[in-house]
């Protein structure tokens, strides 16, 4: 076991309280070995990034006591019942003490349409809307520890459930825009997402093995390179920059549309949050 693993195990102690509960519910979903996990993480030929990851990384993901992403789940649990803002409320004030009852499945259907604004809204934005409208609290900053923790916790509560975003009806125009982003060449190196993740998965680009980029079910994930949890939009920015393209701001409309397309590419795949990747 790595030193890191040991460290996070120590810090996991606090999780034990919830883990007793959440663990029981979710332990049935935990995977004993990677072969079994691999068949689970492939649906109709669509393969999660787990298939393109190395065994050591997958082992970290599969074991809650090794998975460093669980620290963010733990922080999310603490934030759930923390009162904040002028209304004197916490998430639990409206959604109950047991988030497993009210929030299971929620992660699988975002981004979805906000009927009031007519805009597509992802899970981070939904969380912040609750903070502003219902708690009269400040929205959390993108990529802040708080927003990452809460998003990771909400994702964790859907672990094992199939991704199921809606892409027809009123949402269709957003979906089409997101898809167009995926196929649009960009940057000085003039490549689109599809050139790497649709045309070339399974091949090495220098030392990196290209995956199908199906990670809508896996983010926020713990990336060894980042040494922390990161959002899907952070990954989009990285992939933009590596082709020398100007990235969008996290939370930008373009990325929320792209997120819908990427999550549709993950349709049917079971939620892995918090996944671990290199």
């Amino acid at each position: 076991m790595t030193r890191k693993g040991n460290k996070s195990m120590g810090a996991m102690g606090g999780l034990a309280a919830l883990a007793g509960a959440a663990g029981l519910l979710l332990s049935g979903l935990l995977i004993a070995n990677q072969a079994a996990a691999k068949s689970k993480y492939e649906v109709d030929g669509r393969k999660s990034g787990y298939h393109y990851s190395n065994p050591e990384t997958n082992e970290m993901q599969d074991d809650d006591f090794l998975n460093p992403g669980m620290l963010w789940v733990q922080r999310g649990i603490a934030l759930w019942s923390k009162v904040d803002g002028a209304a004197g409320k916490s998430c639990a004030s409206c959604h109950g003490d047991d988030a497993r009852k009210t929030m299971r499945g929620v992660f699988t259907v975002y981004p979805k349409l906000n009927k009031k604004t007519g805009k597509l809204e992802n899970i981070e934005q939904r969380i912040n809307r609750c903070r502003v409208e219902n708690m009269k609290a400040k929205p959390w900053k993108w990529e802040s520890g708080e927003l990452l923790s809460m998003t990771t916790f909400i994702g964790f509560l859907s672990r094992g459930l199939p991704m199921n975003v809606k892409v027809d009806g009123e949402v269709k125009p957003f979906f089409e825009k997101g898809k167009a982003e995926y196929f649009k060449r960009r940057g000085q190196l003039d490549m689109a997402c599809k050139h790497c993740h649709i045309d070339n998965p399974g091949k090495r680009i220098r030392a990196d093995l290209l995956s199908e980029g199906r990670a809508g079910q896996a983010f926020p994930l713990y990336r060894l390179k980042w040494q922390k949890i990161g959002s899907l939009h952070r990954r989009f920015r990285g992939c933009n920059k590596q082709v020398r393209a100007k990235p969008y701001k996290p939370g930008a409309e373009e990325y929320v549309n792209l997120e819908l397309y990427v999550k549709w590419r993950s349709r049917g795949l079971p939620v892995e949050v918090p996944a671990v990747r290199r």
Binding site: D190, K203, R204, I205, R206, A207, D208, K225, A245
Partner: protein, 165 residues
Amino acid sequence: MKSIAKLALGGVIAAGLVAGPTLAGDNMKTAKLASYKVVDDIAIPEPLAGKKGDPARGEKLFVARKKGNCLACHKVEQLKQHLFHGEIGPELSDVASNMTPAEMRLRLVDPKIVNPETIMPSFHKVKGLHRVMKKFKGKPVLSAQEIEDIIAFVQTLKMPKQAKK
């Protein structure tokens, strides 16, 4: 593990390509591009800006992650000493037996003329690109001289007849 941003595709542009403050206008920047003539949609017969290539410099540029970075996608037997050759494009170990310098020149300058769908970057092109990062705007990935150097190196890539698979 490092991402290819670090390994390969990201980073700085060579000092020689950076337009100085007096060359700030878009026209001046694009003037850094050599003009060329494509023949039969497959070749650029004339060396860019009439430059002569140097194979030793070409080899360095071929490997450099912030320059050609050709190994990101192509395997080259003769460059075994460098680890991690990509698998995206065809192996180039014997490419000089099958391609003329004129064909290679078009491949490097703007491979989309040959194959509009290709993943291979256009190394000497600045027009028609989308959302280029500010520091790379109006600058080609490789200068005319650098293209000719790489062609001079790629011209040396031949396998002995009996070693061919």
